[in-house]
């Protein structure tokens, strides 16, 4: 990258920030203007993210051109804060923008009228997310984390109501407490290693005196706990299904990527800091990730089976996908890891679509209808006489579209062919078990079995709910759904279809990402070789 385009790295942070600031000056009544600014900013973000993804090859060019590193304030690393654009961060920024547009489009139908400053908060959330994906500095990560969280508190309670405020209160306390843990972890890391720059930290880790190492490891462990809380690992995830199911639909849709932020940082730091296998803590951390991830899969799958409301089912599905990702990251291995990245993209899009869809489906049912349906199923109290009425009743087009979307979500969540969930899980499984099945370890078999079983649980739960909602709906009125509401769901599902069709190139990108990540020297060299602009080192 050269000249002006080099400055585009900071654009994913500045664009939403500027949009959010401008919208604060517009009156709350003037929603059309706000919606237009918000939409324009998000579309611009998508364009920039696509450009950044194309130019994210700077990290691995042979002559070490560090095109993907942006020195904020023109201070050389490790003294200043750096933004680092590599394949992984470019992927996450693009995924955020891709998910944001449908979620925003969905909110334009009615949800953005439900409270003040929806669009500003939404843009600030995007800013925090992009900043956290791009930064190469631990304390800067904390700041962007807080920006993202502060916006998410407001968004979670958007629309108000007792249920949301209660879930929001719990979410707030959990995240404030984990922010304090984050600060303790960061200051321990700084106190022992003398640096906050991730690349510098990875470099200094190897020759740290033993008496300091124990403190540094505790600091890193505290940081790990914070990101695992965000990712929703068992047993630190009791808040997640409540919070996600209480949020309004477009907010829950964009929240699908919040838990992936925790996973992104775990992946980034574990590749960078634990990449050096000689460290004694590396194998322990991997074991913790693997087994805690598996426990999360089990917990999530049980939750999915036990959920009666669709919102909670989706919340537990988020846990299943987090658990799968963490277990695979803990398991390691190139094929499984690139499968995990593919799964990350696929499951984020799926969860986004599912959260949006739930609101449309539930609009047709009056409150408590789903509870009633379960009770009637159990006690066999269904009124048999109603069967006569069903003859000759045509299915309304709205219900047909919704049910097709619902079954697509079911297929994606359970990982059946032909959609992208299958490709992702298949790659993970083939990476975990390996080419030679008899030599696979017992941990590999347990992982593979649990991943398949969690898919089965998702399938059972989704089939049960689907039949209840679309097939045997009790007094179900056809929901009034606008095109602008169903289009975002269709767009997200089409993207998973595109992921399947283009699985080859996408998987190659993931493979390249993992290859680049698995050697921390690429990242470290790129950060340290980034030169200041005054020296004229930005190559033409």
């Amino acid at each position: 990258m050269s000249g002006f385009s080099h400055h585009l790295i900071v654009a994913p942070i500045l664009i939403p920030f500027a949009a959010a600031a401008i919208m604060l000056f517009i009156e709350e009544r003037n929603r059309t203007a706000k919606a237009l600014i918000s939409l324009a900013s998000t579309v611009l973000l998508l364009t920039v993210a696509m450009f950044l993804m194309r130019s994210a090859h700077g990290m691995d060019s042979p002559n070490g051109e560090a095109g993907g590193v942006y020195l904020l304030g023109n201070w050389p690393a490790p003294f200043g804060i750096v933004l680092v654009l590599d394949r992984l961060s470019a992927l996450m920024v693009l995924l955020t923008a891709t998910l944001a547009i449908p979620a925003l489009g969905f909110s334009l139908a009615r949800w953005h009228n439900a409270g003040a400053h929806f669009h500003s908060l939404f843009q600030l959330l995007l800013m925090g997310l992009n900043g956290a994906f791009l930064t190469g500095d631990l304390f800067n990560l904390f700041v962007f984390f807080e920006v993202m969280l502060a916006a998410s508190y407001g968004l979670l309670m958007h629309g108000s109501g007792q249920q949301r405020v209660k879930a929001g209160l719990h979410y707030l306390v959990i995240n404030l407490a984990s922010a304090l843990l984050f600060l303790i972890g960061v200051s321990l890391v700084y106190g022992t290693s003398g640096t906050l720059n991730m690349a510098d930290l990875a470099l200094r880790l190897a020759d740290l005196p033993v008496e300091r190492r124990i403190l540094l490891e505790s600091g890193l462990a505290l940081l790990g706990i914070v990101f695992l809380i965000k990712a929703g690992i068992w047993p630190l995830n009791f808040w997640l299904p409540n919070a996600y199911s209480a949020a309004s639909a477009p907010v829950a849709g964009i929240f699908a990527i919040l838990s992936k932020l925790g996973i992104y940082i775990i992946l980034r730091l574990s590749m960078l800091v634990l990449g050096n296998d000689t460290l004694p803590m590396a194998s322990m951390a991997r074991d913790v990730l693997l087994y805690a991830g598996l426990a999360t899969v089990v917990f999530g799958a049980i939750g999915v089976l036990a959920s009666q409301a669709l919102g909670r089912l989706a919340g537990y599905s988020v846990l299943v996908s987090s658990g799968t990702l963490l277990a695979v990251i803990g398991f390691g291995g190139a094929t499984a890891s690139s499968g995990a990245l593919f799964y990350l993209v696929s499951s984020t899009l799926t969860m986004g679509a599912f959260f949006l869809l739930i609101e449309l489906v539930e609009r047709g049912q009056d409150a408590g209808a789903s509870m009633l349906a379960v009770t009637m199923e159990v006690y066999g109290d269904v009124d048999e006489d109603e069967a006569d009425d069903e003859i000759g009743v045509t299915m309304p087009a709205t219900m047909a579209v919704l049910s097709v979307c619902f079954s697509a979500c079911a297929i994606l969540l359970s990982g059946l062919p032909p959609l992208s969930g299958f490709v992702a899980k298949f790659t993970i499984l083939s990476g975990v078990i390996g080419a030679n099945a008899p030599t696979a370890t017992s941990a590999a078999w347990i992982t593979a079995t649990l991943i398949i079983l969690s898919g089965l649980c998702a399938l059972i739960a989704m089939t049960r709910t689907g039949m209840r909602t679309f097939w045997a709906s009790i007094e179900g009125t056809v929901p009034r759904v606008l095109v602008i509401e169903v289009a975002p769901v269709l767009i997200l599902l089409t993207m998973t279809l595109a992921l399947t069709a283009g699985a080859g190139p996408v998987m190659r990108y993931m493979d390249d990402t993992i290859t680049m990540l698995s050697d921390p020297r690429n990242y470290i060299n790129a950060v340290f070789e980034a030169r200041r602009i005054a020296e004229g080192a930005i190559k033409p």
């Binding site: 502060a150 209660k166 707030l172 404030l176 922010a179 303790i184 200051s187 700084y190 106190g191």
Partner: protein
């Protein structure tokens, strides 16, 4: 000085942890404030405790006679963010009190 600082951090943390585990929202917010004081002192402490040491470096001076400026700037950021989020929590707390009519963290009194 080290003993006083570590005792202070310890007592603040212990009180804070006890308070955030209490069932009333007001106790939780005081607990979070105490915890954030403890964390701020802790961040300040990781730079090493020095008396009369300015954080500004001049040419040719002995580096050991200066305080580390990084923890000081970190603690400044942490104070600002902590203050803002506590204020936000206060608003949510009031909203919860207004909507549920109780100051219990779960929005309803425990059944006796």
């Amino acid at each position: 000085m080290e003993l006083v600082l570590s005792l202070g951090i310890g007592i603040l943390t212990a009180s804070g942890v006890w308070l955030i585990l209490r069932p009333r929202t007001y106790q939780v917010i005081i607990g979070l404030s105490l915890l954030s004081y403890a964390v701020n002192l802790f961040i300040f402490g990781v730079g090493g405790l020095k008396k009369n040491a300015p954080p500004l470096l001049t040419d040719g001076a002995d580096i050991t006679s200066f305080a580390d400026p990084v923890p000081q700037s970190l603690v400044l950021t942490a104070i600002v963010i902590g203050f803002a989020t506590t204020a936000l929590f206060l608003v949510v707390m009031l909203a919860s009190r207004g909507l549920t009519g109780t100051d219990h963290v779960d929005g309803k009194e425990k059944a006796k």
